[in-house]
């Protein structure tokens, strides 16, 4: 009788995530993005030196999940808070985690200037084209025609303009060293997302400047879709308007 081959666990939680359930809705990508960030913290050995600026949005409870030092930021101000953290503790790894309402609406000035100054921080931008936490209002990144609770007839370009492409806008600034847009709707994209995150972490740990990773993310609840439909929308409509890719990588050789 041949010995049963030993089974090895090929996936586990990153250790910089606490072992607690998320409060996120079924199928929400926030949880997945958290994990990817935590994996890099582990990979770079940064759990003991990370300082995070949480933001206000569905991910406001970030600090219940990440086992690192975290400060709550007022809505939209995470990039300014992170600037304070990094200036005071330049040897720390500092990141923000912000939604599209947080970063692209109320926090526009803070993100533009943090990028322009070339703050040595890493910004995780979760673009789900909607204000999730507050119940599904229009965001600056809401697609044209998309129905939300404050665009009940669909977003109108004439009234509200077209969605802002943040990655592209920030890439025009001299201070932005790395900027990429990724998605986690399938394994291929997930791998690219991991690579982009890794690169962003590299930028900060090497002191190369401001790094920015935009995640296209789903919000089944407020999109009024099943998780599968929402997941599919990320790769289709969203990625159509917000093309995936690396927008800036000043140290690319």
């Amino acid at each position: 009788m041949s010995a049963k081959p030993k089974l090895k666990q090929v996936f586990d939680r990153p250790k910089s995530l606490k072992d607690v359930p998320y409060h996120y809705c079924p199928g929400c990508h926030h949880g997945l993005i958290h994990r990817l960030v935590a994996e890099q913290i582990d990979a770079f050995g940064l759990q003991e030196s990370t300082l995070a600026a949480a933001s206000v949005g569905c991910s406001v409870l970030l600090y219940d999940y990440f086992d690192v030092d975290i400060v709550e930021s007022p809505h939209g101000r995470a990039a300014a808070v992170a600037t304070g953290l990094k200036r005071a503790k330049p040897d720390s790894f500092v990141f923000t985690y912000q939604g599209d309402g947080d970063l692209a609406a109320i926090g526009t000035a803070e993100i533009v200037h943090a990028a322009n100054r070339g703050e040595k921080i890493t910004v995780i931008f979760v673009n789900n084209a909607v204000f999730g936490m507050t119940g599904g209002q229009m965001a600056p990144t809401t697609l044209e025609g998309q129905v939300t609770t404050t665009s009940p007839y669909g977003r109108s370009a004439a009234e509200a303009g077209l969605p802002i492409r943040v990655c592209e806008m920030l890439s025009t600034l001299e201070g932005t060293a790395f900027a990429a847009r990724v998605a986690v709707d399938n394994i291929k994209n997930l791998k690219k997302a991991k690579a982009a995150l890794k690169r962003a972490f590299t930028y900060q740990t090497k002191g190369w400047g401001f790094s920015f990773v935009e995640f296209l993310s789903s919000c089944p609840t407020n999109w009024k879709m099943t998780p599968e439909e929402a997941n599919a929308r990320v790769g289709k409509e969203m990625a159509d308007y917000f093309p995936l890719g690396v927008y800036k990588d000043v140290r690319a050789n």
Binding site: C25, P26, V60, M133
Partner: protein, 187 residues
């Protein structure tokens, strides 16, 4: 007359609609009424609840710490709200999802309503909430089933008006179940 209740369950179970219909019916019956939903972050994670207070006098607080009744449509709700109900109160339990012993309560009366089964019986499992509402109205006695049925056209979005007869059927099924139970107990 004074009645209050917390109605709780998963987001998809239509608990907010139950509260709305009840409140609407109370208004039409000339009562003072308040309806209070949970809102904000508490909505994440898929649970929902609301509180309805019906009275002959103006309603002071729309939120109740020790409700006269609770309507619990799933287990987490039963665990959370069961213990809060007054001693003399009633708990309406969705027997399709909750089992005996899964929650505690001081309440004298616990009505086990097999909502989904009753709804299936009348041909639409999705009407479980209306079945429960019928049971609550019958058991609570603050309004008549007819008053609630009459309120449906006002409370429901016109898109759903064609569903009114089915809803009325569900209300009645729930009410009937309670009556039968009572009769059984008495008998």
């Amino acid at each position: 007359m004074y009645f209050d209740t917390i109605i709780a369950g998963f987001g998809g179970q239509g608990v907010l609609l139950m509260g709305n219909v009840l409140a609407y019916a109370a208004m039409h019956a000339g009562k003072q009424v308040t309806y209070m939903p949970v809102y904000g972050v508490e909505m994440r994670g898929g649970t929902a609840n609301c509180t309805v207070v019906i009275s002959d006098r103006p309603v002071g607080s729309p939120i109740i710490h020790e409700p006269v009744s609770a309507v619990v449509m799933n287990r987490p709700s039963a665990e959370k709200f069961g213990p809060m109900v007054k001693k003399k109160g009633q708990v309406f339990v969705n027997a399709s999802l909750i089992k005996e012993g899964q929650f505690t309560t001081r309440a004298k009366t616990v009505c086990w309503v097999p909502t989904m089964e009753l709804a299936s019986d009348i041909g639409n499992r999705r009407l479980a909430n209306m079945v429960m509402l019928g049971a609550v109205v019958q058991g609570g006695g603050m309004l008549t089933i007819q008053q609630v049925a009459d309120a449906l056209s006002g409370a429901l979005d016109p898109r759903y008006h064609k569903m009114i007869p089915a809803n009325v059927g569900a209300l009645k099924a729930g009410a009937r179940f309670i009556s039968e139970q009572k009769a059984a107990k008495k008998g």
